[in-house]
Amino acid sequence: MHANIQLLILGAAAGTLYALLASGLLIVFRSSRVLNFAHGAIATVGAYSYLFLIHELGWPKIPAVVGGVLASTAVGVAFDLLFMRRLRHADPLARLVCTLGLMVLIHALIHPVFGKEDPVPVQLFPTDTLRLPFGEPAFIIGLDRVILIVITVVICALLWALYAFTPFGRATRAAADNERAAQLLGVPPQRLEMLNWALGSALAGLAGIFLSTLQQPSLNAYTQVLVTAIAISLVAGFRSFGLLVVVGTVLGSCSALLLRYSQRLAEATGVPGWDQALPLLVIIGAVVIGGRSVVPKGAETSRSLPPARLPERPWRWAAVAAAAGVPWFLLAPIGLVDPTTVSLIIAVALMSLVVLTGYCGQISLGQMTVAAVGALGAGRVLEHVGLTPPLALLAGGLLAVPVGFLVGLPAVRVRGVNLAVVGLSVAIVMDATVFSSERLTGAGLGLKYPTASVFGIDMNGITQQRAFGIFTLVITVLAGAFVLYVRRSPLGARFLAVRANERGAAAQGLSVGATKLQAFAIAAFIAGVAGALLGYRSQQIAWASFEFFTSITLVSVLYLGGITSVGGCVLGGLLLANGGLMAHVFSFSGHAHTIVNVLSGLGVMSIVIMHPEGLAGVPRQIAEALRGRRRPGPDTGGGGPGGAHRPAVKAAAGPALAEERAR
């Protein structure tokens, strides 16, 4: 019991620090109605700047803290001025993706800017041990922890007062509740938003600096802490600073207490990571039960996702892909073959998001986790049954479907950023438990794929790269055809109807929940196939290839390529997949990863503003510009051969058609 209470006390200290990080998140959310996924990266900028100023420029600690906070503030303000301000009325997904772009950009640049090694932490506060006046023996806590708790509580109290009693706070709340009304009353929403971004980013920087006193700062560590901060914000309902501190304290204490029992749980279940997973599972439950009331309603959006056009003569494109791809795989220098294969596999994974997000409007930040399940399923099946690769891919896809279904269940009750966070939490839970379990997945060792052949040709992604590349090309073309088939089918029309207006779709008699689950299931199947392909390509599945950050970058890559377009998937895979063709091309510099991520981050932030259809829509627009006239696409809405002639589906697709016609 004594140890348990001690753990609760110590966990509370870390929990309040999470709450400080979450407070910056809350401020930005209130003013911009965006969940800032770059908040952890901005915190990293603060921490690295602080340590850079101390180590490299010899600044004293307090000025360095100010410098670190100012650096974070500058990043936040610049991001608002350059990007978020132009996205005030954009689709929530576009705003969220823009913050993902900033996160990817900061991740790419932090080491080139601050040096390749993570900086040495510097103690900001005295680390003496305090003995509390109770407990036998007396409970103890570090003085630095006590100082952090006090600072966090004071800051949260000041923030509460700022937003409750000052004209700035009242104006911010007014603008958040009803921007147009606030504008009529003379409140300048853009300036308010900038000030709130500045304050939120400053708090991120401060939290980052404080965190660096507890642990070696690193991008990965801060991203994981951000997820906890987001979870705290969600449970606290993005409402109250006081509630943030309470939830953060409780969560921190529970996590610390769970550590005591996680080893026993791991031994009993064969699955590790319960101390990380259980709090997130509870939060997922809370968010799902909380349903739509968790996130307050924002201002109306004037734009939505880009139109889900059908390409003209899709089979011609397939033929062109085959005609160009097969000679490429046969004749290209061997060094380019595998990167092309990787690009195509990523394109297949992106296609799953086209169905889910592009067609049905559901956000998933855990799609690579679903792909991992496909890889695992195919690997396990291959262990026991000697399937040929096509059947193994099918098995991987089918085994991923139940998981996709489960991941999609929360979508029945939650949507938007909440759904994104639930997906991300599921991904992190899977990382910490299933993919860390030696018994289930081989953990760090991963899973070996046995070699197999198709028509007598060895499908070994390492030794038979050309043959495997052609095999992947065939699968990519088939996956693209499948996605287009879905788009043309009545089901695709229902997806578009749900995407356009859930209430409208429901009013037309459509089961919105069932439609969403169908989208999740189809997307999971495609992602599972991509996962199994990755397994064949490597002959051994390394779960690190499927970690949650990969899922995040997948969304940003797709948005850049074109979130509603199969061609966008291929473009995204070729241009921006890590390990893909473009990354290989840039590898001459020795910084391919950095270059690709910088292009990806900058590109996605620019594209959401300039061209939401993504790069895939550029040729069409150029063609239209050259023709000097706008001609509607062959099918821009939910109609099409598969849907328009069926009255029920046509009715269901009504909102989608209306949306498209409104353009």
């Binding site: 753990l7 690193s218 060094g335 953990a443 002959q539 779960w543 690190a544 473009m582 590898s587």
Partner: protein
């Protein structure tokens, strides 16, 4: 409306121009690549220092983490230093030596890519150690599958070092844990608490350490696995200390070590803490600060930072200095250097036409590396592993050969680092 369309068209044209520029750049770079290996990825080559003899160049690969969350480049630096040293002394039997490095950023996907590139580069005869966290798990099996020998400079665990072309020069973490397990119970610290990074190799190392502690008459009273990058180690420290141990063995990542030690010290200033010499980055010692005073460390023969009487160490220090690098501690530059020396030993008796991947693998099986007068086999004797020879399928047996005098054992970190100057 028309203005909007025009604006969109302008945006589209701007984007198209940017895309075209990228594609042109890509095409230019692609055509400049020439063969499949030149200019690939993070591959960089180190040219021979001295004029090449007429004989063909012997190329070895090394995977290192020159970027990423933890920098683990010291082993590859050591191998590179060895190559330069050999080249200034006429190469191996007249053959100049080249090291092809690949940076995996401590990322499994990039690690796979490194393995793939080294396999594709048919000039690469074998791969020497390097980054020792991901490589033994991911790249090493792939290299073996392709018939490319992998010489581990830090064996990380049982189950990973399987394969007909898997070799090692040291037992690494398992060996060092064994040294700790042997030392502390024998010196009165019988209750041991273990804290390891949450990973497969760590859990296996922990299981093995538990056996070793029991065999030495002690007992493991607590075992905790902490996720690398844990934001606050205080609860971990509480969990460990609640079992009232005499000593805490820690195998957390070097970057996490200072935070863990500080958290333990806050709650118990006197408990003994013992750790491993596993590729410590330069920042670790600085970050430890005063807390390193009560910290014990196990090192094995491949992890010595300084020994002025040892010609290998002296030569390595000189070459590293010329390269602008510093000798590192832990399974670092010395391991990389010795990996090269092991290759030298294997190739010494080979005819020129037999120096191929398969030929080298066969010779590595029979080769021994002599360190300080002690012969070190690079693999188990045939038949000692269950089911016959399977590389290092049973590293425990391998490690057991090297207990005793070859482990330098346990010393205060402060004293260990004193000669190296931190």
């Amino acid at each position: 409306m028309r203005n909007k369309d025009r604006r969109r068209s302008k945006h589209a044209i701007a984007l198209a121009a940017a895309s075209t520029l990228i594609c042109l750049l890509a095409a230019a770079c692609s055509s400049a690549d020439g063969d499949s290996t030149a200019g690939e990825g993070a591959l960089g080559t180190i040219p021979p220092d001295s004029p090449s003899p007429a004989k063909s160049t012997l190329t070895f690969g090394s995977i290192s983490a020159d970027t990423g969350p933890v920098i683990l480049s010291s082993i590859a630096d050591g191998t590179e230093a060895w190559a330069r040293y050999v080249n200034t002394h006429g190469g191996i039997g007249g053959h100049p030596v080249k090291i092809v490095r690949c940076d995996d950023g401590l990322d499994a996907t990039k690690n796979q890519d490194c393995a793939r590139r080294l396999i594709q580069d048919t000039s690469v005869l074998a791969v020497i150690g390097g980054e020792t966290v991901v490589t033994p798990l991911v790249a090493a099996p792939l290299l073996n599958q392709a018939g490319l020998s992998y010489l581990s400079t830090e064996t990380t665990g049982e189950g990973e070092m399987k394969g007909p072309a898997m070799f090692a020069i040291t037992g690494g973490a398992i060996t060092q844990f064994a040294a700790l397990a042997k030392h502390f119970p024998a010196n009165g610290a019988k209750k041991v608490a273990l804290v390891n990074a949450a990973s497969t190799s760590s859990s296996k190392a922990a299981a093995r350490t538990t056996e070793e502690v029991k065999a030495a008459g002690g007992s493991v009273v607590a075992t905790v696995f902490a996720k690398p990058g844990t934001p606050d180690y205080s609860p971990v420290a509480t969990q460990l200390l609640s079992a009232n141990p005499d000593v805490i063995f820690t195998g957390v990542t070097p970057t996490d070590l200072p935070a863990l030690v500080r958290a333990i010290r806050q709650q118990n200033p006197t408990v003994k803490i013992a750790t491993l010499a596993s590729q410590w980055p330069a920042t670790t010692v600085k970050t430890l600060g005063d807390t390193k005073d009560g910290l014990y460390m196990a090192t094995d023969w491949a992890a010595f930072p300084d020994d002025s009487a040892d010609p290998d160490i002296t030569a390595m220090r000189v070459m590293l200095h010329r390269m602008g690098r510093q000798a590192s501690f832990g399974q670092g530059s010395m391991s990389g250097w010795l990996g090269g020396r092991a290759m030298e030993a294997a190739i010494a008796g080979m005819k020129d036409d037999k120096i191929t991947r398969a030929g080298l693998t066969a010779h590595l099986r029979a080769a021994t590396l002599t360190v300080k007068g002690v012969p070190v086999p690079l693999t188990l004797p045939k038949g000692s592993a269950p089911g016959g020879y399977d590389g290092l399928a049973n590293p425990s047996a391998y490690i057991n050969q090297w207990k005793g005098d070859d482990l330098k054992q346990v010393a205060l970190v402060r004293d260990v680092f004193a000669p190296a100057g931190g």
